[in-house]
Symmetry: C2
């Protein structure tokens, strides 16, 4: 492959600025980085020269020397999911504000791919990593230990987890999934539902487990049985929610509500219910999780748990910056953002629904 940069082209470097200003390159560097006092006259000359030549420091050279690249990397399972783009926007904005660029990687929910990328990043002198991990905290302890070392113990590259809380000793921004899920279940119970089915996010991820635990807790607290035959596990996708609901319907297990691990699966489940001529919410109440806009478009509109996605992105970047400043000293910090129930017509026929027409 040909070199893109034409050999005749001369990109303006720090040398050119130095020459034009009639000073040494170190003086230029110091002026531009404000890293040492330089007499105001020279300073002026340097700034003017840099300006006239449209000088832009070469990031690679700078990174090579300084060990910093002003770049954060985010790893998300999926970029087409409606959840992550909002988080990414929050990150993007917060990062830009602090002068960092954001590189986005998609892991496709593959831990192998996630590890590969992280492995690469170790040597790319990225300044920080934002990670929505696809690991299973129960079985992938060694991997988490690696990350703990990378981030805090060895003080190499700070890593902040988001969306899922992977466990002890790791910085993380999340919501209290268990509590929020318990609240959602409690709401269903309080509105008279007794046979509450559950369509779960993948249980190999902490999020799936935590949300399920919340459901169990609420059922127990109400003295209700969480029958295993009313439990099906999906994979986050609308399609999987549809299929879980089909299975549930075919099992002829009775149920008067279904709580889902996310909105996408809830929408799939809703579709299956409507096709089976069930009345929602009269026969079956449907509840999602995350509060993504598609839930407002379907009919009946989806009740759900609101998760502050953009704030989560912002908070994750802020935690990263804090960790960098804090000098990598334990303990780890876990930021838990607030959730709130959003009740629409899929659980309460008296609500009236509005389509969410903002930000998509």
């Amino acid at each position: 492959m040909k070199k893109c940069l034409h050999p005749l082209e001369h990109t303006v470097s720090i040398k050119d600025v130095a020459q034009r200003a009639g000073v040494s390159i170190s003086t230029v560097s110091h002026v531009l980085n404000d890293t040492k006092y330089v007499g105001s006259e020279l300073k002026m000359r340097v700034l003017q020269a840099a300006d006239e030549l449209h000088y832009q420091a070469n990031t690679l050279a700078r990174g090579l020397k300084s060990g910093r690249t002003n770049t954060f990397c985010v790893l998300v399972p999926s970029i087409v999911s409606v959840f992550f783009p909002k988080v990414l926007r929050g990150m993007q904005m917060a990062a830009a504000q602090s002068g960092y660029a954001l590189t986005i990687y998609e892991t496709g929910e593959s831990l192998e791919r996630e590890r590969e990328i992280i492995q690469q990043l170790r040597w790319q002198r990225v300044d920080g990593i934002l990670l929505s991990t696809s690991c299973n905290p129960e079985t992938d302890g060694a991997y988490l230990e690696e990350l703990r070392n990378l981030s805090i113990n060895d003080k190499r590259i700070p890593v902040v987890f988001f969306e899922v809380a992977p466990g002890e000793g790791l910085d993380c921004v999340t919501v209290d999934n268990s509590r929020a899920s318990a609240e959602a279940a409690a709401y269903l119970i309080n509105s008279g539902r007794r046979e509450i089915a559950y369509i779960s996010a993948p249980m190999r991820f902490a999020m799936g487990k935590n949300r399920y635990e919340g459901y169990l807790k609420a059922m127990q607290a109400a003295g209700l049985e969480a029958k295993p035959s009313r439990y099906w596990e999906g994979d986050y996708s609308p399609k999987s929610g549809y299929e879980c609901m089909r299975s549930l319907l075919e099992s002829s297990e009775s149920f008067d509500a279904v709580l889902c691990g996310n909105d996408q699966m809830a929408i799939g489940a809703l579709r299956a219910l409507l096709e089976a001529k069930k009345r929602v919410p009269e026969d079956v109440a449907v509840m999602g999780f995350d509060n993504n806009f598609p839930g407002t478009l379907v009919s009946p509109a989806l009740s759900t748990v609101s998760v502050p996605k953009q704030s989560m992105g912002k908070a994750a970047v802020e935690l990263l910056l804090w960790r960098m400043q804090s000098g990598f000293e334990p303990p780890a910090r876990v930021v838990a953002l607030d959730t709130k129930l959003v009740i629409r017509t899929s659980t309460d026929a008296n609500q009236k629904s509005e389509w969410d027409l903002n930000d998509w």
Copy 2:
């Protein structure tokens, strides 16, 4: 801010590999890059040493020296729009396959921000730029000329446009927006609609203009008047579609169909129509553009023009790779992907609708 890399840590460099293998660093470099013949015995030793030390070349140093970074940058107006994530996924996959990383930037439809980012990229030695531009080809000719120079004339950084065709002499992947829009209008006309309103994407962008031109062409061809009082311009967002339709309704202009510049605005318009107790499609047919999944969730489901989003991303990366190999010689290449009409219940009550439950 503290350096992230602990000073005591010694990251393994090419030197360590050379030492361990008992060869010179240039031999290591040549083995690893396969850039010169090296005896099989030494080759083995080098590869083994690199493996044992988990050596990963430092991308910054490599980029500094070689002028290449194995990185492409994409600029999109919005990352939360449902359109772009699919394109990004196509790019991501194609780039990864060729060993390139993808950095994503959001311009927020601000040309100023777009220029800033491009300006930065010039000095960051990215290997290629993928650009969904927010410029107005009519008034921003100078900017496009700059990009033409950057990409083809000066052979510095190849730039491939996507989604919008910015004009002559620039590589681009798009669809024939004008033709597709004309087809959509023709379909409405053929199904008996006569007073067809138009809610436009912003006319300062080529896409908005092209789609509107297609509508005009079809109206003319059918001998119908495209009344200015039936034209409203939105900003892509669902909200703006809603507001345009409100305005149209309040204007008491009669109409029996509305063609929209994208699905989002069509969905907003649909909402306004339903709130005004109009029957869709009986009183008014509604047609979108792009075929994004939300159009299948609303009721009635949205007729639209299908745009191959993921393929567009893939094709854009392929065009970039081709441009790099081709040695930057004109002429520019424009790749136009196929579209197709997707008829659902918002224009034809006899259709039956399925929710799109895939990939979100």
